[in-house]
Symmetry: C3
Subunit: 211 residues, 3 copies
Amino acid sequence: MAATGFPYNKDKLLYFVDLAGTFLFAIEGATAAVYGGLDLLGMLVLAFATALGGGTIRDVLIGDVPTASLRNWRYPATAFAGGLIVFGAHHVFQTLPPMILLVLDAAALSLFAVAGTEKTLDFGLHPLIAVMMGTLTAIGGGTIAALLLAQVPRVLNADFYGSAAIAGSVVLILCRKAGMPRGWAAFAGGVACFALRCCALAFHWNLPHVD
Amino acid sequence: MAATGFPYNKDKLLYFVDLAGTFLFAIEGATAAVYGGLDLLGMLVLAFATALGGGTIRDVLIGDVPTASLRNWRYPATAFAGGLIVFGAHHVFQTLPPMILLVLDAAALSLFAVAGTEKTLDFGLHPLIAVMMGTLTAIGGGTIAALLLAQVPRVLNADFYGSAAIAGSVVLILCRKAGMPRGWAAFAGGVACFALRCCALAFHWNLPHVD
Amino acid sequence: MAATGFPYNKDKLLYFVDLAGTFLFAIEGATAAVYGGLDLLGMLVLAFATALGGGTIRDVLIGDVPTASLRNWRYPATAFAGGLIVFGAHHVFQTLPPMILLVLDAAALSLFAVAGTEKTLDFGLHPLIAVMMGTLTAIGGGTIAALLLAQVPRVLNADFYGSAAIAGSVVLILCRKAGMPRGWAAFAGGVACFALRCCALAFHWNLPHVD
């Protein structure tokens, strides 16, 4: 998740969107915990790890500690709320059409990739590092969740998911280099990530393997 | 483990207790390494990870680096001593009644939960974060050890272990809010964690799962 | 990998050797990704993790953030180049005599152990911590790669690999204590690690297990 400290720049809409993405990723993490046979504590841990793990590791690596996910208690509270809702109403999520969740997930992926890239650039690091940190923000949480379930993270061996985050991050940086204002560059990066991820879902894209 | 920097406040008893908890968790980690088929180096790594991993991650997240576990060499030395003792006398631990080790473990769990909560409050972070960091201090090391053995951490899917740490941490914070002096609040939190954990052992408590 | 910030002391040769070690470890990580069934993104992630993961965790623990691996983009770029080369020419590496790769790996292991030990001493930490961080620099990356493949890290249960790193680090520190100049102490430590690792390969050394 992003946990970018949006509240401090008073942009209420962005802050709300950030918490919404956190909430969605938390629901996905807690659902994975259910399928992995974890108990209530395990569900809360996976909700937090999935929603906020990527942004937390990013903050540790770039040196922004205490991490944003610990400075504002609303982020972990949102993640735990997502975990508790899955605990109380797991069957509700099973009745939703999967495509709705996948499209919402693509939106959260785009948001986190963009937020992670922007924060890293704000810290004065190289664009290559910003792409790495944007991607880490977007896919790091799901990777930690998989490790806690003793599984190989799916993002590393199938699908076209992290690649969409990379592409969105690259688009953001290229748009900034081309002189586009920050807000529009972020918007373009997010749209690129979202569109690519939706295409990947529609056309069952996968990255190549060495055979 | 805690590694809270106790030596610097000159409280010799607390420091000794802290090292004793580190030593016990190290013995548990090295024993898990034996059952996991690891060699001597693996035993030392798991002794360190189990005893000091939780406190180390806490320190990294809240920004206290170099971590307490690296600033005072007696902490890792204690952990490695625990690992070496298991290497040299693994059979001795097998002859102990399991209940003794479980009760000692409950004591170390309580100590680490309380120490982690106190340190996080001292860093000025929110009580919710202090509960999270207290729990991380108590159960983080065992979680890392499980990951290194490619196993799902047992604390996430069975038993009533992390929950006792959470409860102890919450009790500490409530007692402080009620105006109790620091020392007594910490004592109350530790006793709550220890009592709950012992009840869980006696009555085979488990957290609920989603079915 | 090391990522010790060598470029800043203008020692071109050491910098080149550092990047060469990064490149080699990246090739090993990407090759492990191929055998683990990962896709192109997984190969790049494992190339980075194997080559730079140990040094990155060391920097986080001792408090040198943003980590050296993120401050100088040439380190991750070198790691990704190694990953891409395996993607494009995996079959070439299969035709090489394994012993060549193993001896090169022993050289990189020695370099990383020495660099990690030196950096930790420069940060004013205790010699025991310097040995731990030197070893972490040398074997941490491969350990993370194994976790991402949901495997028990081989360094923890077989072979004589991390032990060679420990020995090299200890030799470096003893030589310094004996008054040897920095450069010669580092050289002695590196030679000790390399020689021990090559002996381990020649004579199939293993660390003892508890039976």
